[in-house]
């Protein structure tokens, strides 16, 4: 029913603060972002919509290619579109810097 996906990306930059954006509402997602001391980023996605592993990989890959930040990210998703996810990631990063 609920799918949990995990991803890792290399990282070279750091962020100052943790940040929290979004909400678990239809077509939306909640993101918790925390600075990490590792040279990589770890992402955990919990979603009620299964079968979009590749889409998540692509959205997250694009984000970390642009922003190679060392963070731990938790995403609680209720069917957010890739565009909404990308927006939330940018918002989370912006308020973490």
């Amino acid at each position: 029913m609920i799918e949990t996906l995990t991803y890792e990306f290399p990282a070279t930059q750091s962020v100052e603060h943790r940040s929290h954006v979004g909400v678990v509402a239809s077509g939306n997602c909640e993101i918790l972002l925390e600075p990490s001391s590792d040279q990589r980023s770890a992402v955990v996605v919990r979603t009620s919509v299964s079968g979009f592993d590749g889409t998540w990989q692509a959205v997250l890959g694009r984000f970390f290619a642009r922003n190679p930040v060392a963070v731990a990210i938790e995403i609680n998703d209720f069917g957010a579109t890739p565009a909404v996810v990308a927006l939330r990631l940018e918002q989370a990063l912006e308020s973490a810097q």
């Binding site: 029913m1 609920i2 943790r18 929290h20 909400v23 678990v24 509402a25 939306n28 909640e30 918790l32 925390e34 919990r46 979603t47 009620s48 938790e74 609680n76 998703d77 209720f78």
Partner: protein
């Protein structure tokens, strides 16, 4: 221009931003924030992704320069429904406010509710939590005002409408709705001839903020505007009106001409 107007809307904001908006500038401090990850353990098995704050935000700060606490529920997450965690946040905050009042260091308590009621996915724990909330509201209002703000998109329904009715000051917005049973619940339980949940004019006539204010359920009617709501909250503490009739209402209520009342609302008596 649109953006400027939106920043003043209360209903457009999430629970955290609503709490921030009601507290004095720069005074917001969240308790049990999302990074503590006290989230519902009951939802995943029912196919629902939990939210890290369980949809209920507790914030301390000041209102009018006085110690305060705002508890806000987020109508966007599962309809703002109240389960064990959210319910315990509300009840626990009320209990601490009562303790403060007894100690002579009062904490102004505001419940900014936006909720469809008890969360069905944890029903038994929700109903117990609401019984604790009701008790704590009455215990606190014996010592100081307990202020409810109903100005969200969901409004207040279910067990929480009952709790809200116990508050001594109730501020409703024109865009909020208040009722015990949501329209679709009435339709499911009693049939479409009893209530057509798609009949929006009927629902607004029956449960809309303007109507609830006219009935004397609320102490203030406000527009969806943060400064107006903040001012109403401050007034509620400075010059409380104490919605008293609820607790001491005589039976049968001699003021209620049921037939005339219903006809005025275009409902067949």
């Amino acid at each position: 221009m649109t953006a400027l107007l939106l920043t003043e809307s209360f209903a457009e904001r999430g629970a955290r931003e609503r709490a921030r908006a009601l507290l004095d500038a720069q005074s917001f401090r969240e308790l049990i924030g999302p990074f503590e990850r006290i989230a519902s353990p009951y939802l995943a098995a029912q196919g629902v992704v939990p939210q890290s704050d369980d949809g209920t935000v507790v914030a301390r700060g000041t209102i009018g320069g006085v110690r305060a606490c705002v508890v806000a529920t987020d109508g966007r997450f599962l309809g703002g429904s109240i389960g064990e965690i959210g319910g315990s946040k509300i009840a626990g905050a009320l209990e601490l406010a009562r303790r403060d009042a007894e100690r002579g260091t009062p904490t102004r308590m505001v419940l900014a509710l936006d909720t469809g009621g008890i969360r069905l996915q944890e029903a038994n724990l929700g109903i117990l939590a609401v019984s604790e909330i009701c008790d704590a509201i009455v215990a606190l209002r014996d010592l100081m005002p307990v202020v409810a703000v109903i100005a969200g998109r969901v409004g207040v329904y279910g067990g929480l409408s009952l709790s809200t009715a116990l508050c001594s000051e109730i501020i409703v917005s024109e865009g909020a709705r208040v009722g015990l049973n949501g329209p679709d619940v009435v339709e499911t339980e009693s049939g479409i001839e009893e209530m057509d949940s798609s009949d929006r004019p009927l629902i607004w006539r029956v449960t809309g903020g303007r109507q609830r204010f006219a009935q004397g359920f609320a102490s203030e009617l406000v527009s969806d505007d943060v400064p107006a709501i903040r001012a109403a909250v401050e007034r509620a503490f400075e010059a409380p009106r104490e919605l008293g009739p609820l607790v001491a209402q005589p039976f049968p209520d001699p003021r209620l001409d049921l037939e005339a009342f219903l006809r005025a609302m275009e409902i067949e008596p």
